[in-house]
Structure formats: structure tokens, C-alpha cells
């Protein structure tokens, strides 16, 4: 079975950890600077006052003048999310983080470990902790598991053991990963439930809504099982530097970055491996935070090259910072590079290709690199001839 663990409004919960009193008052996650003035997740008190996530700021404030706007804190959210994933991994769950606040895992391997499906799911809830008010849905299909998690109450594990299509049929279209405009279009046509969408002819849906609509239709019919791709256990290589007072001077920040790099590269846990992906984060003076990731074209452990690659991101800092952090998100397996006298071939060429593919995967995400697998090259139907199979080797 596939389980989906869901924490609604994770970013807001993470931002409120330093101000827990706000959790009981009408509060909402404010828009980021320069973005459209739309609200993020809201607290239960705000929802009771009629404020909804995605509402325009002006509309929300006229409905609830006491509404407190919480500044976005992506670095804290990222940190808390990473900690939570590590706690799940420590309990034996091989997790795939679909988004912040939503994680999938296969239950087959761990059922025997904890003596059944239900105890295993309870163990996952316990690993997350009650403060996050997580809920779990489990089903044979990935989408049905997500739907079950949406229906479950806080702290509940809801298992859909049979007829997942019947289970998801009465649920609203908001669960589908489609463009809101497409959803509105469907609702105007009188299609408001997943079951209604599943009942439509697939070709008609594809013609009206395009490939995304077709995919949504397929999900609503419970056709795609969807595979869980567990992430590789993350490296715990990170360093931070606290400043006694807020710093905006680029030279000081660059020196701080150099110092962080020195400390990170000296860590024995790195085992001389080259760095493929880094994340630079900062705590801003106003209380918010900032984070940028950098994927390198060639994995390297050269201090100067790393400093240049990450240093350019410092210019994007929106405000003075009180804390600067640097994290080695992904490391390569190679420990060094020998200059070549002759053209590489054979095994060496394959190693270069493999390294290049890893680089692409680190930049574009898992599933970005595929192999073409011929299954019926003689077929008269073009799409039956070959498959694109993701490569994770």
C-alpha cells in the first residue's frame, strides 16, 4: 500500500513555532515580497471568521480586521521539514517528499517491522509528533492515499482497503493537481465531484482540457498506481554563522561565506567527496528568512569555485541578515579528477556520462533523465513502440 502523510498549512505552522500564541488567533501566512497579494494557509480562528487560503489580502482584512499576517519564513519551514523527514527515516520509512507538508511512503516493507499496517502508520504519526497535527491516508493508489489523508482528522490514519474509486467519487475537484482555471471551467459545466469527472469520456476531457485534464481524469478514475520514489538519505553537512548585529555589507557577507565554506569543506563526514548542490540560507533582520539553492555544472570541492558559484546569490538578499547558513545538499561520489592525456573511452567515457546524468538529475529533479525502452517496435501505433523509463542509476 501507499501511505500519504499530510500536514495542512505546514509553512504557517513552521512560521508560528516561534510565536505559538498567534496559532489561537486569526492569522494567515502573508504573501512574499513582490508576489500577488494572496493569502497562504490560515489558522482555524481565521477560517472561522470567513478567511480562506488564496483570498486577496484586502478582502481578508475587510472580513476580519484583527487578522495577523505572519511573514513567510522559508528557511525555518525547510529546516523543520527536513527534521521531520529525518525522524520518519530514523523510524524506517523510506519517504518521498512531494511538497512541503506532504510525504509519501510504501508500507510494504515496514508492515512486518511494526506488526501490521495500522501500527506502522501510528508509528509514523508518533515520529512526526502531535504538535504538527499530521494525518495519514493509505490506499493501493497514490492519489487515493492523498484523498484519504485530506479526509482524515488530525492524528488519524485512514485506510482505504477496497474500492478506492468509490471512496474518491464524492470528493471535490480541489484535490486534483490541475490549474484553478481549468477547475472553475469544470465547475461551470456542473462537474464538481471527482466521480462526475471520472464518468466523462476520456477523449472529451482531453480535447477540452488538454493533457493535464486527461491526467486529472485518469487520477479521478483511480487508474494510475503511481510509484513512490524514496529519496536518498540527506547529508547532514551544514554550518551557520550568527552575527552580533544585522549585516548588509556584501564584503562582510562574502567573508562570512568563505568562512562557512572552509568549515564545511573541512568536515570529515564529507570524506573528500566533491559538492554537487549547495543551499545558502539567511535569517533576515525583520524576522523572515531567505534560501537559495545552487546546482554546480561540475561537481567540485575547489573552495574558490564554490565561493564564486554561491557568492553571486548574496546579491539577491532582500534585507540585512542576522544569520547566514550554508548546506551541502548533494555530494558526488568522486573524490578528485585526473586531467586527461588521451581521449576517454570505454569505462571511463561511461563514467563521464554517468556523472553528467547525475548532474542533470540534481538540477532538474528525479525523473528528469530517462531511457528509451523499445517494447513493440513493430507496432503500427506509434505510442505503443517505446517507453520512457526514468533512470536513477
Amino acid at each position: 500500500m501507499i501511505a500519504c502523510l499530510l500536514i495542512p498549512g505546514f509553512e504557517l505552522r513552521a512560521a508560528l513555532r516561534e510565536r505559538p500564541a498567534l496559532a489561537l488567533r486569526p492569522a494567515a501566512l502573508g504573501p512574499a515580497a513582490g508576489e500577488e497579494p494572496l493569502l497562504g494557509p490560515v489558522t482555524a480562528a481565521a477560517e472561522a471568521a470567513g478567511v480562506q487560503p488564496g483570498m486577496r489580502l484586502g478582502e481578508a482584512l475587510s472580513l476580519c480586521p484583527d487578522l495577523a499576517l505572519v511573514e513567510q519564513d522559508p528557511a525555518t519551514a525547510e529546516h523543520e521539514w527536513e527534521e521531520l523527514l529525518k525522524r520518519l527515516e530514523d523510524s524506517g520509512f523510506a519517504v518521498e517528499a512531494a511538497a512541503v507538508g506532504c510525504v509519501y511512503f510504501e508500507t510494504r516493507g515496514i508492515e512486518r517491522l511494526y506488526g501490521g499496517l495500522e501500527p506502522a502508520l501510528k508509528r509514523a504519526l508518533a515520529a512526526v509528533g502531535p504538535a504538527w497535527e499530521a494525518r495519514i491516508g493509505a490506499a493501493e493508489r497514490r492519489f487515493a492515499a492523498l484523498a484519504a489523508a485530506h479526509v482524515a482528522r488530525s492524528g488519524q490514519a485512514l485506510i482505504v482497503s477496497d474500492r478506492p474509486r468509490d471512496f474518491i467519487a464524492p470528493l471535490p475537484l480541489t484535490l486534483l493537481p490541475i490549474d484553478p482555471q481549468r477547475r472553475e471551467e469544470l465547475e461551470e459545466l456542473g462537474v464538481r465531484r471527482l466521480g462526475q469527472l471520472a464518468g466523462l469520456p476520456g477523449a472529451a476531457v482531453a480535447e477540452r482540457l488538454g493533457p493535464d485534464g486527461r491526467r486529472a481524469w485518469s487520477l479521478a478514475r483511480g487508474e494510475k498506481r503511481g510509484k513512490v520514489r524514496a529519496r536518498k538519505v540527506a547529508n547532514d553537512l551544514a554550518e551557520t554563522l550568527e552575527f552580533p548585529e544585522a549585516v548588509a555589507n556584501e564584503l562582510t557577507l562574502r567573508r562570512a561565506l568563505g568562512s562557512l565554506l572552509d568549515r564545511l569543506l573541512a568536515q570529515p563526514e564529507r570524506r573528500d567527496r566533491a559538492v554537487r548542490k549547495l543551499a545558502l540560507s539567511a535569517k533576515l533582520v525583520g524576522g523572515g528568512s531567505w534560501r537559495r539553492t545552487v546546482t554546480l555544472r561540475d561537481a567540485t570541492a575547489d573552495r574558490d569555485r564554490l565561493r564564486v558559484a554561491v557568492g553571486v546569490k548574496l546579491a539577491e538578499l532582500p534585507a540585512p541578515v542576522t544569520r547566514l547558513g550554508l548546506e551541502l545538499v548533494e555530494l558526488a561520489q568522486t573524490v578528485g579528477r585526473q586531467l586527461e592525456l588521451v581521449q576517454p573511452e570505454g569505462l571511463e567515457l561511461r563514467a563521464h556520462l554517468s556523472e553528467g546524468l547525475k548532474q542533470v538529475r540534481a538540477g532538474a529533479g528525479s525523473g528528469a533523465v530517462c531511457s528509451v525502452l523499445e517494447v513493440a517496435p513493430w507496432s503500427r501505433i506509434p505510442e505503443q513502440r517505446a517507453l520512457l523509463v526514468p533512470r536513477d542509476d
Partner: protein
């Protein structure tokens, strides 16, 4: 996620009286180079009955479109 190579995409096609394409995705068809039919799997619950057209658009671009005669919908595809 495993997916099919050359999966058909929905296309907006206007036709002449004889059923051949006049425009594809709002681009005029300059020339129909070839036309063929694929009828297969008629013994299954998912029969395939397609009328393919290999066309040259007014912009000079080549395109292959087909009418799915089961669904009465047009799709583009690299045939």
C-alpha cells in the same frame, strides 16, 4: 514515472469537406503530403481507428495529425 514515447497530444484541427485538415492549431495547412489509416485492435475493448495526415503548415513546419474515429477527436503525434 514511466511514460509512453510519442504519446498523442490533443490538437485543434479545422477540416475541409472531405475531412482533410484545413488548419492545425490555428495555422493554415499549406500541403497534405501523405494520408494513411491505422485500424488495429478491433478485437479488443480499446480498438484503434485513426486517419493520419502528414501535413506542411503555412509556417513551413511539418506536422502529423490524426482523427481518432472512435472518439471523433483530433490529435497531433510524431508518427
Amino acid at each position: 514515472m514511466t511514460r509512453r514515447l510519442n504519446a498523442p497530444n490533443p490538437a485543434l484541427v479545422e477540416t475541409h469537406v472531405d475531412g482533410s485538415p484545413r488548419s492545425v492549431n490555428r495555422q493554415q495547412v499549406a500541403l497534405v503530403r501523405e494520408e494513411w489509416r491505422v485500424v488495429d485492435r478491433w478485437w479488443t475493448e480499446e480498438p484503434v481507428d485513426r486517419r493520419y495526415f502528414d501535413v506542411v503548415l503555412a509556417s513551413g513546419e511539418n506536422a502529423v495529425v490524426f482523427l481518432d474515429r472512435e472518439a471523433q477527436s483530433w490529435f497531433s503525434q510524431r508518427a
